[in-house]
Amino acid sequence: MMKGLIDPRIEAIRDRFSRIRYTVIVASGKGGVGKSLIAATLSLLIAQKKYSVGLLDLDLHGPVTPLIFDLEQAEPEESKEGLIPPIRHGVKVMSLGLLAKNRPTPIHGSNKRDAIREILAVTRWDKLDLLVVDLPPGTGDEVLETLNLIKDFKRGAIVVTIPSQLSLKVVARLVDLLKEMKTDIIGLVENMSYMKLDEQILYPMGKPRGIELAKERNIPYLGQIPLDPKVQEALEGRDIDLLLGTEFSKTVEEVIVKPVLGMIK
């Protein structure tokens, strides 16, 4: 007789991830740096290249992915093998927001790890070339639990910062955590780095300096992504085609898509 409470979700998660070729974690120690938008755009751009792509929004308290993908009224499809994510523009999208039906998700701290396990165990991705995981800001339970649960699978992190000193300091701590947890870092991107106004280039948050952090921490610096007012227009109009035509998306393509494709090829 073997006794002791054993959680079968761990094997369920292993089984799900064994069908995923590569997982990209999009993370930042800080909130409000545009992480979710970068994760969404990355998944859309790679899906356009005919890869099978999933996007998992693990922000338990403020999931925005359903808004970006105009999925506020959508629900995952129930099946006896788990929940099948809805597909938009070729991307399979899963978020707690799809289950919470636009209500707040006041999940208690001690229950967060269970919520993460449950989403990972219950979501039926089937075979994927790439799963993009949009992590919540910080280095809390959700981040630690996710990194632990997928540690045996091929994965890497895109770390997002903005040029502010505050952001760079907080992001440095996340980089250290990722290293301690043996997660490969594909590179650092500096979002909202500059703005193009006619022929002028403006630096609303000061000159980008993420490259210094990348050098200091010995990680690749992928580049700078602009602050682009067209993005807001696309999001408000729920217009994915417009989003993919922005300077923002073109830069995500140049800066992030290539190294990520290198991981899944």
């Binding site: 007789m1 073997m2 006794k3 002791g4 409470l5 054993i6 959680d7 079968p8 979700r9 761990i10 094997e11 369920a12 292993r14 089984d15 129930e78 099946s79 006896k80 093998e81 788990g82 929940l83 707690l96 289950l99 919470a100 039906k101 209500r103 707040p104 998700t105 006041p106 999940i107 208690h108 001690s110 229950n111 967060k112 269970d114 919520a115 449950e118 989403i119 165990a121 219950v122 039926r124």
Partner: protein, 147 residues
């Protein structure tokens, strides 16, 4: 409902544990099911019997025990059971169902979402913590002599 997927993960886990310990024969399995997960016990039992039969042969004894859910309100300290707030959930998701029909709701998939849909019966707070009765666990495995 994802009882088949749960059964499959239970069987995968049992298989892995037995292999690690050097056993190949399973005589019985005890499962604990949290009340919040609202698992259909008949479907889970049938799924387990089928999948365990395929993996370990016929005759694996399956015992399923339900753990009552307890929730605690962090605002007023009141502790309560799932049944006490069931009507709140039913009102949102299952107003029109026939008697005996299953009330499908997201708490079945992610029990932690309970506080998105119900409030403390005493003070109305949504700052609720799950104390017990979530998820599904393997409590014990009865292994045969054969190593």
């Amino acid at each position: 409902m994802h009882e088949w997927s749960l059964a499959s993960s239970i069987v995968l886990t049992a298989k892995k544990i037995l292999a690690e310990k050097g056993y190949s024969k399973l005589d019985g399995i005890d499962i604990v099911v949290g009340e919040l997960s609202q698992i259909d016990l008949d479907i889970l039992r049938d799924a387990l019997r089928t999948l365990l039969g395929e993996e370990f042969g016929e005759g694996v004894e399956v015992n399923i025990e339900v753990e009552k859910a307890r929730l605690k309100c962090n605002t007023c300290g009141y502790e309560f059971g799932f049944r006490e707030v069931w009507d709140q959930l039913k009102q949102i998701f299952c107003q029109d169902i026939e008697p005996g029909e299953e009330c499908e709701n997201p708490v079945h998939y992610v029990p932690e979402l309970v506080s998105s849909f119900v409030k403390c019966p005493k003070c109305g707070s949504v700052d609720l913590e799950i104390i017990s009765g979530r998820g599904v666990w393997i409590k014990s495995l009865k292994v045969g002599e054969e190593k």
